[in-house]
């Protein structure tokens, strides 16, 4: 049994992110919305976000709330024209290594298992 960290991470058949797309104006966003923030439409379709992207900007967080493992690289990515937030993983969080314009690929990893044996799955982006 496994559960994604957020409901817009879909694990099967291959892990990918799913956005809501306004059927009227094609604006895309993650998570449940009451109406489209761009055109106020109220019908949405699911949009499969490409699993590859380009790193637009980043930071390396050294101090965070208690319990958050630091340092880590938080980044903003362009995945097929949609802006996506996520961590850069699988590489040292070092500004000499992580660069703007870098190509990345979605990867999942285990966040641990709860008392009922359910494994939580997180995601991040690895340089390709």
């Amino acid at each position: 049994m496994s559960i994604p960290i957020v409901n817009y991470l879909v694990l099967e058949p291959q892990p990918h992110l799913v956005a809501q797309e306004c059927t009227a104006c094609k604006a895309k966003f993650f998570g449940r919305h009451n109406a489209c923030p761009k055109c106020f439409g109220v019908t949405f379709a699911e949009f499969e976000v490409p699993t590859t992207g380009v790193l637009k900007t980043f930071t390396i967080v050294h101090h965070d709330a208690k319990g958050v493992p630091v340092p880590y690289c938080a980044a903003v990515l362009d995945c097929g024209g949609m802006t996506v937030g996520g961590n850069i993983i699988g590489v040292d969080p070092d500004p000499e290594i992580i660069t703007r314009g870098m190509h990345v690929q979605l990867k999942t990893y285990s966040l641990g298992t709860d008392a009922e044996g359910v494994e939580a799955i997180g995601f991040g982006f690895e340089p390709v």
Binding site: I5, V6, F29, A65, G67, N87, L111
Partner: protein, 398 residues
């Protein structure tokens, strides 16, 4: 044509550690001093705007300390733009003709608050339970990007002008070097010690490229302003008219839809929209400004707002800063108070404090840091989420 509005009196308390005072003491210190500066009393006030983000106080609790006259209080909460939003509410009431004089107060006790981040993560749950609109099974800060302000604004700065590689650690540190130099002339600043570029860059890293001294300073403080209609002002003494400061533009805006705005806070579009509207309302342009206080909550924020406020050519903020324009002896002095990084950032007080700084220069009362001959200035504040206030002020010609 609605009524012109003016600042009749304004005050900012010293920013820093004010351990002997509680939130209401600080709010009262600012409010009573603003009233005294204006030459009026609570009896003359017809409306109050009040902001205190983290202390749980209200305009009514302040009134119980300084004067219960029964006037309404608009208790506002608008993140870091809380104080200037409270002032905007008073301005709107006067412009609407429902009052001819009112007071706005912003106050915060933040000294020693430490790093302001998302919620604490704590220990894991017994069972993973999806909650909220994203069905999150845990606090996402640090797992899907960062919700910490230092990191968020770092991302905004490194994205400047299509991720211009010249927007780097050293550039942002040099912006902080300016802030920590300017504040040496400001006796109200939380930090008044000059810092070298080397000291700034070697300070502990909070969120690359922001070291500790490149982040806004948590401190205690309050600011208050008394606002008056022009019709009422003209009935007051010549001295009150001479020291009054004209509010040529008062704009409050929220972030409009942009493709990225729901994933990556957009502080630029809202600032650009507010600035354009403010210049239009004031009938003056950036070249007419003698000084600007902008919302440098982190060093990177200052760079992007040079551009967003139209202080430089589009895309030209790096060259603009490198020209020395924004130092106090430059052609467009920015944050001569030391800014949020060095003067300090007691959240709900900041909006009015930035306005106080500009107003004090226009009155010619800024002491050693006075920008000589200042006739017009701008005060800009961002509240994350995102809101923006822009006020353009002009020296009295009365």
């Amino acid at each position: 044509m609605s009524e012109n509005v003016w600042i009749l009196g304004i005050h900012m308390t010293p920013f820093g550690k004010r351990a002997d005072l509680d939130v209401l003491d600080l709010a009262a210190e600012a409010a009573l001093a603003a009233l005294k500066d204006a030459g009026v009393t609570m009896k003359d006030m017809q409306v109050m705007g009040y902001g205190n983000l983290r202390g749980g106080t209200s305009g009514q609790s302040l009134q119980k300390q300084i004067g219960q006259t029964g006037i309404p209080s608009f208790n506002v909460s608008n993140a870091c733009a809380t104080g200037s939003t409270a002032m905007r509410a008073v301005i709107m009431a006067i412009k609407a003709g429902e009052a001819d004089m009112g007071i706005a107060v912003g106050v915060e006790k933040l000294y020693g608050a430490g790093l302001l981040t998302g919620n604490s993560v704590g220990s894991g749950p017994e069972t993973w339970t999806p909650t909220g609109r994203n069905g999150a099974i845990k606090n996402l800060d640090g797992f899907i990007g960062t919700s910490g302000m230092a990191g968020l604004f770092a991302q905004i700065g490194l994205a400047y002008n299509d991720s211009d590689p010249r927007a780097d650690f050293e550039l942002f540190a040099r912006i902080s070097e300016k802030s920590h130099s300017h504040s040496t002339l400001n006796p109200n600043a939380a930090y008044q010690n000059k810092m070298s570029l080397e000291q700034i860059m070697n300070d502990p890293m909070i969120a690359y490229p922001h070291t500790r001294s490149m982040c806004s300073a948590n401190c205690d403080g309050a600011a208050a302003s008394v606002i008056v209609s022009e019709t009422k002002l003209r009935t007051l003494s010549l001295e009150q008219q001479r020291r009054a400061v004209k509010i040529s533009a008062s704009i409050l805006a929220s972030d409009p839809w942009t493709e990225a705005s729901q994933e990556f806070a957009d502080v630029s579009t809202v600032t650009r929209n507010a600035a354009v509207a403010a210049y239009e309302q004031a009938g003056i342009g950036p070249d007419d400004l003698d000084l600007v206080e902008l919302h440098d909550c982190f060093a990177a924020a200052e760079l992007v707002h040079y551009d967003n406020l139209g202080l430089c050519e589009p895309g030209g903020a790096i060259d603009f800063f490198n020209s020395g324009a924004t130092w106090r002896d430059g052609r467009m002095p920015v944050n001569v108070s030391g800014g949020l990084q060095s003067k300090g950032h007691p959240i709900a007080a900041t909006g009015i404090a930035n306005i106080w700084e500009v107003a004090t220069h226009l009155r010619g009362e800024a002491g050693p840091r006075q920008i000589q001959g200042a006739k017009a200035g701008m005060a800009h504040v961002i509240g994350l989420g995102s809101s923006c206030t822009v006020h353009i002020l002009e020296k009295s010609g009365l």
